[in-house]
């Protein structure tokens, strides 16, 4: 597996149609810190002064979805605007944010896969938790389910594949681990990722404004509680 913590420079992004109501600005085909930083910074910059007719800006792991109203702006004209923004220097500040500390319980009933994951990483359980929590994790993107965040990246010993089978339901707050990333579920979801722990923090409350708190670029620190 390619190490996503390598910092490749990102060439100019590809702008492709995502149907007839959205464009996708894609910074890379594979996930890396550089691609995620570029997508995150681009989305922030675009959101500061979106062209007329843009209805939604959705940052993702390596790309940004831009929804538009075709009665207000043509896709060609929007693509031209987007490439101007992408070609201008993206501010490195775009890839920074708040730091969140998440009290978390690991293993046992909260993390049924912890032992297997530690074993696969050649660590005992405590050493695995310490190594996991020592990683400076950044929120890479929200996606998949309400308030669900992908965080990365762990170094080589902590890069293991997904489970071969999918669990139909894991509870809200589940801390998930696979492919060099930690993800946090905010709602009950099915997942093929390893469940290693649980936090009481819920990154989704439809009654709050905004309904989610984490943003791409934020730092997440997991703190072990018993």
């Amino acid at each position: 597996m390619r190490d996503p913590t390598e910092n490749d420079p990102i060439a100019h992004p590809l702008i492709v149609p995502l149907g007839d109501r959205a464009l996708l600005v894609r910074f890379a085909a594979t996930l890396s810190v550089a691609a995620n930083a570029a997508a995150t910074s681009f989305a922030k910059k675009l959101a500061q002064s979106p062209p007329d007719g843009v209805t939604e800006i959705v940052p993702s792991l390596v790309s940004v979805q831009i929804n538009y109203d075709p009665a207000k702006i043509s896709p060609d004209r929007l693509a031209a605007e987007l490439s101007l923004i992408a070609w201008s220097k993206l501010n490195a500040d775009g890839y920074s944010g708040q730091t969140w500390r998440l009290p978390s319980r690991f293993g046992g009933e909260y993390g049924p896969d912890l032992e297997a994951v530690a074993h696969a990483s050649d660590l005992d359980v405590d050493a695995f938790i310490d190594a996991h929590n020592a990683t400076e994790l950044r929120v890479l993107a929200t996606g998949f389910a309400p308030g669900f965040v992908y965080c990365g990246f762990h170094g080589p010993p902590l890069q293991i594949p997904r489970r071969s089978t999918v669990r139909n339901q894991v509870p809200p707050g589940s801390i998930l681990f696979a492919v060099g990333q930690t993800a946090v579920a905010a709602t009950e979801i099915p997942t093929g990722w390893h469940v290693i722990g649980q936090t009481d923090f819920r990154n989704f409350d439809p009654a709050s404004s905004p309904p989610t708190r984490f943003r791409a670029g934020d730092r997440l620190i997991f703190e072990r509680t018993t």
Partner: protein, 303 residues
Amino acid sequence: MSATILIERVGPMTTVQDAGRIGALIHGVAASGPMDQHGFSTAAQKLPRWGTSGIEFTTSGLGLRLLSGQLEIGCAGGVFDARHNGSPLPWPATCQLVADDYLEITPSSYGNFGYVRFDCELDLPSVMGSLATNTRAGLGGFKGRALEVGDRLQFGRLGKDNQPSNPSSAPKGGDPIHFTWGIHAHLFNHDVRQGFVAGLFEVSEQMDRMGIKLRDQQNVFSSNQNLELVSEPVVPGDVQILGDGTPIVLMRDHQPTGGYPRIATISTPDLNRFAQCRPGTRICFEPITVEHSLAVEFSRRQM
């Protein structure tokens, strides 16, 4: 006196919908909204004034009784049989309901989804700016779920006056489904892409508000490799190829992002028509450009 309706007969997957939860994708929530947006707006166009939300029902039909107050209703989408206190109404239908009136809707010749719109606003809490039910996330609509027998829906203020507009004409049923190539189309080889355009597909019974699976009758995607892709944004109409080669068209309650390859995205007007194709309908796909798709859609609106 504000109107209240009682759901007396309902099938699964019957939900309250509005134009959708726009702006929620950044929180990991799809917009939801009607499976057939054209049918949903046609139902409102039948009314002198309309509330922003309505009920989406399925081929299981719908029976509702007005318990109190009065309501003017408009129905459209597909072809259904509608009866007002037993008397048949032409489809699309309109009628005035007074207390104790019964509206009975049963499936007829065409379509999976029909809509009832009202001249008043449904009195339901707005969730993230919308009344649309998102069945996957359990948000919005009536308690975040599909309607059930015994549910009572209350109405509030009158809807806004109907602005005369040029509603787009419904595309014809037998036309090919137009699409623009998807964000992973280049990952499928030439033969597979040709097969997708030349092949015959059949709408399967595995259909819900999240997605509609297709039967790939000529096994175009049988040799599909399980590609490892970075998860990327999904839009309604994306034709995604699952690991076992099954094509699935992602619909209004889709996952906001997905990691399976997507060969195509069905054009906006044709996605409404596709949603109405019943299981067993044979469909074929025809590629167009985004520019062409928009030109056709906007010229239709002006006709």
